[in-house]
């Protein structure tokens, strides 16, 4: 059908079997990359992993250039002390926070702008259900957040393998990619759901992002202050309470996924309460999304 023939003809062609969420996902990603601020956040988000790669290269060069010959066990020890799971966790956590900024920037504008501009009325008058719309919006954000966590994580692991002085490093770190992937999925899904819930709650895009950030900071400071107060009174309870801060909960769950033993952890957060909080927030977010994004609202 040539584009220069613009007389109105209607459409009698074959319709695609693509599900309704797919165009919304595609649209979300396209729109996100038109945003200069987001592009900047994405680039900044990848920078720490490059920094780590450079650090690993020079640190391992340093080990290799030692004059005194050292045994294989010593090489393994030095390698592990230089960069292993605790270091992975700190770097990946920083990546995660940056990915959360990406999520806030993309997700904050997602549903709120559609609600505010009443675009939902027209969208839901098409062959798309609420589930498909929400899935498309969710996948649009989660894909980008996954990219901002998974890709840097794999980069670091590859750099660790390539530059390590330990020739058996692959064997020692074989489980890491799977653990990094599981963490990235957990982190992306939970932070995306939370951002989208704020986006659905508040109709102004920037206000949704701001509310999300305020929620994270307030819960962090409030819960930690509460935990500090409780620490004097009770031994175990304060660790349980700390699990209800999103940042601390994510850090604890991440350590659990990466397989870092509790003895090596500096943080005092209960895994049970962290898991409860992460799952509860996800369920609450889904509930909010279903309450606020409704086809019934569209014409009222």
């Amino acid at each position: 059908m040539p584009i220069y023939d613009l007389t109105y003809r209607g459409w009698r062609g074959q319709r695609t079997r693509v599900p309704g969420w797919f165009p919304i996902l595609e649209h979300s990603i396209k729109i996100s990359f038109r945003n200069k601020m987001l592009k900047g956040a994405y680039i900044v988000g990848v920078l720490p992993s490059f920094g780590v790669c450079i650090f690993l290269y020079f640190a391992n060069q340093q080990i290799a250039s030692r004059r005194m010959p050292i045994s294989r066990e010593q090489v393994v020890d030095i390698s592990r002390q230089l960069f292993d799971l605790p270091q992975y966790q700190i770097i990946l956590y920083i990546q995660g926070i940056l990915a959360m900024v990406v999520a806030a920037l993309i997700g904050g504008a997602g549903i709120s702008s559609d609600r505010r501009s009443n675009a939902l009325e027209t969208i839901f008058s098409r062959a798309v259900t609420r589930n498909q719309y929400l899935l498309g919006r969710f996948l649009g954000v989660v894909t980008l957040v996954l990219g901002a966590t998974l890709i840097p994580g794999f980069f670091i692991w590859l750099a660790d393998l390539l530059f390590s002085a330990d020739e058996y490093r692959l064997e020692a770190t074989l489980a890491y990619p799977a653990r990094i992937a599981i963490w990235a999925v957990e982190f992306s899904v939970s932070s995306t759901l939370l951002v989208l819930a704020f986006s659905a709650l508040i109709k102004r895009a920037w206000l949704g992002t701001a509310a999300f950030v305020v929620f994270l900071l307030v819960t962090f400071f409030f819960i930690n202050a509460l935990a500090s107060a409780m620490r004097r009174a009770s031994d175990g309870a304060w660790e349980f309470v700390r699990g209800f801060s999103f940042f601390d909960a994510q850090f604890r769950v991440q350590a659990w996924i990466l397989g870092i033993p509790r003895t090596k952890l500096d943080t005092h957060v209960s895994l049970t309460s962290a898991l409860i909080w992460v799952v509860a927030l996800a369920v609450l977010s889904v509930f909010v999304l279903y309450r606020k994004v409704r086809p019934i609202e569209v014409v009222s």
Partner: protein, 327 residues
């Protein structure tokens, strides 16, 4: 059959918005009239599959309202009353997205977006952000958006809202051409009776969730009683007085004359005989036709009267019979 509803009831909680609506629309262009709160939007929502009816059945383009809501929306277009577009998107991007959601391949959706914007007269503004459009242009974008997926039936909700007279006329021409030139069945919801009369050949009037009138406009406008518009030479007041004395019903004369209804059994010759009897002559004589506004207002009055009867019946204390009274 394009739209078939049988005893359709729609409730919002305890409030019944639509009462046992039954109609059969065979196609063409039909106006959906009714005051605010009459149930027009509720009916449109239900027909689009966004609301589930509480009881009754309905089919649109042969598809069941309850089961096939997604397929219905694939084949039906909807131009909403309020502004509805996401920010920071130009008209082509917005329409392409809507086309893709409706199942068009990406390339076809893009082509259709251009085609529909061209049809709506926005060829020059296609790459401008919709939020920067004027009111008239936004209305046109909404029309183009309703057509982008090539619907067989289109709902237009107040398409001339906020338009200047020239823009309104252009929009009405576009709406009219949908059925007449392109074979798209049209349901036009509007408060503006002249708009409905210009675009549609049929009309349905809803009032408080009940269907008050439905059929071709020409049939509805035809008065059940035989009445004539008459103007005579000399004093119209004297002529009207003579008509009334002889048993006719006649309205107060104005610039156009008087509407005269002869007595039962009398024909139009009665009017000429009366004119002869007072030595005057008839200047103008035509069969009286009600306007669409008359039809609309009569429907509302009938609906109000029925509502009062129902309210009275509901307010009346219930009759409690004892076992002995039951025969």
């Amino acid at each position: 059959m394009i739209l078939e509803l049988k005893n359709l009831c729609i409730d919002y909680g305890r409030f019944r918005a639509v009462h046992e609506l039954s109609l059969q629309f065979e196609g063409g262009a039909i106006g959906l009239l009714g005051p605010n709160g009459a149930g027009k939007s509720t009916m449109i929502r239900t027909v689009l599959g966004l609301l589930k009816p509480s009881s009754g059945e309905g089919k649109i383009l042969g598809l069941d309202l309850r089961r096939d809501s997604v397929e219905i929306r694939r084949r039906v277009g909807y131009m909403c009353e309020r502004d509805s577009y996401p920010p920071h998107l130009n008209a082509v991007q917005w329409l392409t997205l809507l086309g893709e959601i409706s199942g068009l391949p990406e390339r076809a959706a893009r082509e259709r977006a251009h085609e529909c914007l061209w049809f709506a007269g926005l060829e020059e503004a296609r790459y401008r952000e919709v939020e920067n459009f004027s009111v008239g242009m936004k209305q046109r974008v909404k029309l183009a958006a309703a057509l982008v997926h090539g619907p067989e039936l289109v709902f237009l909700d107040e398409p001339t809202n906020g338009l200047d007279p020239a823009g309104r006329r252009q929009m009405l021409d576009l709406c009219k051409s949908l059925h007449e030139k392109h074979g798209i069945h049209t349901i036009l919801a509007s408060h503006l009776l002249p708009d409905v009369e210009f675009v549609c050949s049929q009309v349905m009037v809803l009032f408080k969730g009940r269907l008050q009138a439905f059929g071709p406009i020409a049939d509805l406008k035809r008065s059940e009683k035989k009445a004539y518009v008459v103007r005579a030479t000399g004093s119209m007041e004297r002529f009207v007085g003579a008509l009334r004395e002889r048993g006719a019903v006649a309205t107060e004369p104005d610039r156009k004359g008087s509407i005269v209804e002869p007595p039962v059994g009398a024909g139009p010759e009665f009017i000429f005989e009366t004119a002869r009897s007072i030595e005057t002559s008839v200047l103008e004589f035509s069969i009286f036709q009600r306007s669409l506004e008359d039809v609309f207002m009569e429907s509302l009055r009938a609906g109000e009267a029925m509502g009062q009867v129902i309210r009275k019946a509901m307010d009346a204390p219930p009759v409690i019979r004892t076992a002995g009274e039951v025969k």
